[in-house]
Point group: C4
Chain length 200, copies 4
């Protein structure tokens, strides 16, 4: 059983989840008598929503790259593995809602907790995805190096731990939680970040 | 005529139907004077919708896995087969509406009957999909084993029968119908469920 | 330059256009004091919308199958050909709007004319798609048989002519126009329909 | 690390962004007592929105063709390259919002500036995409000709410069900015346009 179709389904869900984020951005409506200055003003008021859009796009990008890199080592699928994927994608597809929630209600801890909770479900599923595939080299090449195995686990767990911290911190400081959500993709993106070994 | 493009179209429709489910989840609106506690309250009121989202995601996942496994044995397509696929996908693409209906009106039998009816159309088409392809080994390898043939038919019919039961029971007990919808993906998912033979 | 990526883009647009049709189906809202009987009543009132959904799904299916069959003979792409595809997909992606329009305002000729007009643009582009590729065997195998060439042209032109008739008839009889839209996929689907030769 | 999956993700985002454009077209609502003539009138009022839809579809088509042609020369991916893609797709996925904004508020410079700004981000990312891949032949074949390199850069920069001009001109003349947005796909499309060398 090849990996081709589950990758296609996953790429589809990722692409749609990324693109649906923008659906929650609503074109400002001008009342009678309002003009260009009011439009500018209303567009400026949308900045938190647009930032939430951009951050979530990059967050989903982080998960896509993580999922993608795992398949560089995964050779085949089985039924359990497909179901782990479905649960992982369930969390990814939920992100447009969680993003819209945070764009609208960023000042309340509940929004950050729903958002962080979704990332934790996605992270847990992505960890299970790898642990199931690589455990006993079940679905990977038999000679997968322990070094690669360790790095992939480390990458997923690092994100998981930080998102857990942000979720727990949200009731104390929503600003801090939001800052962590926004900075995590940057940490993954930077050449000296958690992914630095993936260059090799 | 290869199976590649119909699989791509199907994966696209599946991915979008799964992801569109979330569009029906609307971010709660806070009235003037409402705050974090009201947001939490409104999010809690969304739980039936969120459950309907998660269950439907897994239900669509069940159909995707069923469709996917059939293609492990299907070698080519013809025109009739493509049309069976289109009708199958029509039912799959209808599920976001049926899901939103059940999320909003779960207490009324009509919602469960529309949802169950959609699953019955999808199940009937998926059965026809296999029966057409495997009958006389029309589109499969000539040496497809009768054992595999029997198992695939059994898998589709099992789901069909249970969904038919839930649909018919809905006027008597909506709760029971909903419970059956929610449990079916679990039955497919469990290692000792109807799919256990697919491991081999 | 291979055909793989333009097929992937087309499959994506087709899958999304098909699935977006359902977005225009809105879950009925119950006012205070309304119950299960009112829900049933409101669902029955949605039947024209649901029929418009199903018909359009099959219409898009017809175009997908037509596009798909052409690629059984097309070997490579060039820039002009990619642009013909983009214009074809523009018309396909417009169908969810035209479908919603007909679902809401089926009794007015304008709705049928917008719908029919969209199909005519799609049909014209699909004809140009083949004429450009097969003319002088520009993008097909050099030994493409004149018989196949003739059949593909005939298939596209048959649909085009019927959709043109429906569009022109709409001001005189909207019912007739709608009937033609609904029957065309059936004509393509039936084994003795315009596609009968594609079996071979 | 192959290019297959990033191309699949990109094709998905492109297909969805193209198709989502139509979501912003809303079926006109008729008030009690209004009839076919009012529907026609309201459809005519939608013409700027429909034009914005068609132009944006072609603009996204231009970017898709540009992205597609680059992959004719790109052989492999690395982590930095994937992130450049994610940022590029972020801008592409933002276009449905920018298009709806221009469809609704075409008379205000702010709409054209948001639209043009989005195209500039996309163009910058697409330039970085090529410069990173082709610089030192990092991700292309080692023998990529300087001529091809020069042409690809020229194609991206030409669009970038024109979109920058339109964005800067918007406060002075929104009409001129809109005209430039509408004409650019035509310039790319015409056989003697900036893409003429890609035929070879």
């Amino acid at each position: 059983m090849e990996t081709k179709r589950i990758e296609a389904l996953a790429d589809g869900v990722f692409a749609i989840a990324m693109t649906l984020l923008v659906i929650e951005l609503h074109v400002p409506v001008l009342a009678a008598g309002e003009g260009g200055a009011d439009l500018l003003h209303k567009l400026r008021e949308m900045v938190p929503h647009i930032l939430a859009y951009a951050v979530s796009f990059l967050v989903i990008g982080t998960f896509w790259i993580g999922h993608h890199f795992q398949y560089a080592h995964i050779r085949r699928v089985d039924r359990t593995f497909l179901w782990i994927n479905v649960v992982f994608l369930l969390a990814i597809a939920f992100l447009p809602f969680a993003t819209a929630l945070i764009g609208e209600h960023w000042q309340y801890p509940a929004a950050s907790m729903v958002y962080g909770g979704t990332l934790l479900v996605a992270g847990t599923a992505l960890y299970a995805h790898w642990a199931y595939a690589a455990g006993g080299r079940r679905l990977t090449a038999a000679d997968l190096s322990p070094e690669v195995d360790r790095r992939v686990r480390h990458r997923v767990m690092a994100g998981w731990a930080v998102y857990a911290a942000a979720t727990l911190l949200a009731p104390a400081s929503t600003t801090l939680a939001l800052l962590i959500f926004a900075l995590m993709p940057v940490v993954y993106m930077l050449p000296w970040g958690v992914d630095r070994h993936l260059k090799t």
